[in-house]
């Protein structure tokens, strides 16, 4: 228990879905009953399609959205129990890298000012020269040239902006880095640069990392473990190699199937089982298993009973029938 850096216990997050004045309030449950632990230096990938609650979960961990239920425990401290000022100080431990490289940078500040800002709030004792020195060192570490210190974000490319975002997050020496789709807005050739940068920074700094993505291919490169989410709930958690070799949830399988293979011959030979139907509304989710409306294997029990996340071999799966569907020899 004390060993883990971050622990989530049955976390749920709700939003108002309108109807506040007339009629009863409708709640949209963006995240529902998420539980996991993350050790120091470990990497966890969170995968799912839009509306699965992965970004909301990241914001809940950072204390940017209130929890409807459950607890986020960081270094043994329950974040909800902290006062606002103490929470602000604790922010140093967890930092966030955003999806939109340009949108996450204040357009009226220079690269140097942006990277220095958290330094100013968490280490007010530093004088200007010390601060500048640290910013320059950090810029070097993320592959920015010191000449870009006075550049404004709109003068830089998307990849360079994302490097600024990473530098800003890392300059306060966090223990956990949450990356919310950090490369999905970047070009293919730049994506690989940023993924490699994150990979080497994570290794050399011993960072724990939560990597949120919709692209399974990138998660596989970066993460030890992967958590698959659908409509606010966890479908499967497993070691990265295990999950990609032996998916144990029909949804994981569908995600893997949908990922294009950059190999024309294998792509032609491949038979896909496309996922039918549309994502149900989170305001009015299906009873039982939330995936049942699109699951090719759904049965009566899936309508009645919410499947619990249970250990199946080396993985945790929320499916009643995983053994019947995927008859891997579970050793």
């Amino acid at each position: 228990m004390s060993g883990s850096l971050l622990e989530l216990r049955d976390v749920a997050v709700e939003y108002d879905a309108g109807g506040a004045i007339l009629g009863r309030r409708r709640k949209l449950r963006a995240v529902d009953g998420v539980t996991f632990e993350l050790d120091r230096g470990a990497t966890l990938g969170i995968v799912g399609e839009s509306g699965c609650g992965k970004s909301t979960l990241a914001r809940a961990i950072l204390g940017l959205v209130p929890l409807a239920r459950g607890a986020v425990i960081l270094n043994g401290e329950d974040l909800a129990a902290l006062k606002r000022r103490a929470l602000r100080a604790r922010r140093k431990t967890v930092q966030l890298v955003f999806q939109d490289p340009l949108g996450s940078l204040d357009p009226r500040m220079t690269a140097g000012e942006i990277i220095a800002e958290p330094l100013g709030t968490f280490y007010p004792a530093l004088d200007k020269t010390q601060r500048t020195e640290q910013v320059r060192a950090m810029m070097g570490a993320v592959g920015l040239s010191p000449a870009q210190f006075n550049r404004y974000p709109h003068e830089l490319s998307g990849g360079q902006c994302q490097r600024i975002g990473i530098a800003r997050a890392l300059i306060v020496e966090p223990e956990l880095l949450v990356c919310d789709e950090p490369v999905s807005a970047l070009d293919a050739s730049i994506q690989a640069q940023i993924v490699n940068l994150l990979e080497s920074l994570q290794a050399s700094l011993g960072l724990a990392m939560l990597f949120i993505a919709h692209d399974l291919r990138i998660v596989r490169h970066l993460c030890d473990r992967v958590m698959v989410m659908y409509l606010g709930r966890v479908m499967e958690i497993a070691g990265s190699a295990e999950l990609f070799a032996r998916p144990r949830h029909p949804y994981t399988r569908a995600l893997l199937d949908a990922s294009p293979v950059p190999d024309p011959q294998r792509e032609r030979a491949r038979a896909r089982i496309p996922l039918a139907g549309e994502l149900p509304s989170a305001v009015d989710p299906p009873s039982g298993c939330v995936f049942r409306t699109r699951c090719p294997y759904a049965q009566d029990r899936c309508i009645r009973e919410v499947p619990a996340l249970r250990p199946v071999g080396a993985a945790f799966v929320a499916c009643h029938f995983t053994e019947e569907i995927f008859n891997y020899s579970i050793a």
């Binding site: 966030l96 009226r108 968490f122 000449a147 006075n150 709109h154 800003r168 640069q193």
Partner: protein, 300 residues
């Protein structure tokens, strides 16, 4: 500082550069807008003339001369715009009136700017109940017939310049607060504000450092459009005889006087009206130009 390995080739080293901010960009674009630039030049000319012109004339604005009543414009005796019914030099009076009109415009706009931006940004940033309460207050104030109130105040307390500045400013900050609040609401959802929260920046510092600077574009546009609006309100009050006290004058007051003798002494109307109209035009053109220059949709 730490054992961070340099894993990626940095971009080719170049000499230290000063970045080009959004404002520099916008001003460069504004410079290409001919109407706005001409307007800006005209405005500067008007301001310089208004500030320096009166001392170049041998007459003072309140010098009456009963030997020179209602003279038409002539360069010979330095009555460039002619004289009024009391023989006062209209050139000097127009410029002195301009000082007052512009001053009202600037001061009242400044009042509305300071109140409106801080009020609107606070309401928009905190949102929820704070926002509700603050904006309902604005709604209530909106419901009051302000111009009527101003007229009542002026009638009751007598004509008082300070009162007029404050009264006009107090009407306009409501608009400003609404505009700023709307902008803040959308800015607050931007990722860079979230990044500042994650970076531990306290709320009022976020408003000061991240919200307000990003509002300045729209505020600048609104200011250039508010100044002429305020000048018009002043003119209107002066036209009703509620503005400045004689012998002090403003463009509105001069137009009012001039309109009375429109048939016999047209110069008394034409010159102040010309100045007023030109200034209003120019402010509007500059405002439009600024809006185009700052429009992010135009960025390519």
């Amino acid at each position: 500082m730490r054992g961070v390995t340099q894993t990626l080739p940095a971009a080719e080293p170049v000499e230290e550069v000063i970045g080009r901010g959004l404002w520099t960009d916008a001003l460069a674009r504004l410079r290409h807008n001919r109407a706005a630039m001409i307007s800006l030049i005209v405005l500067v000319c008007v301001i310089v003339l208004v500030l320096l012109g009166p001392s170049a004339s041998p007459y003072a604005y309140d010098d009456t001369n009963f030997d020179a009543i209602s003279l038409p414009p002539s360069a010979g005796d330095a009555h460039y715009f002619g004289t009024d019914t009391l023989g006062r030099d209209l050139f000097v009076r127009t410029l002195i009136g301009g000082r007052l009109s512009l001053l009202v415009g600037l001061v009242a706009t400044l009042v509305s700017l300071v109140i409106g931006v801080s009020y609107g940004a606070t309401a928009g940033y905190f949102g929820g109940r704070v926002d509700h309460l603050m904006m309902r207050i604005v709604d209530i104030l909106y419901a009051m017939p302000f111009l009527f109130l101003v007229i009542l105040l002026l009638v009751f307390f007598g004509r008082n310049l300070l009162l007029m500045f404050v009264a006009i400013g107090a009407i306009n900050w409501l608009d400003m607060a609404r505009i700023v609040r709307g902008q803040t609401l959308s800015l607050r959802r931007r990722e860079f504000v979230e990044a500042a929260v994650v970076g531990g920046v306290p709320p009022f510092t976020i408003i000061r450092r991240h919200i307000v600077p990003n509002l300045l574009g729209i505020v600048a546009v609104y200011v250039t459009l508010t100044i002429p609006q305020v000048m018009l309100v002043e003119s209107f009050l002066s036209f009703l005889g509620l503005g400045v006290q004689e012998p002090m004058t403003s463009w509105g007051a001069l137009v009012n006087e001039g309109a009375r003798g429109m048939e016999t002494t047209p110069w008394m109307l034409i010159f102040p009206a010309l100045f007023l109209a030109a200034t209003l035009f120019c402010f509007n053109f500059v405002g439009d130009g600024l809006r185009d220059a700052l429009d992010p949709a135009d960025r390519k």
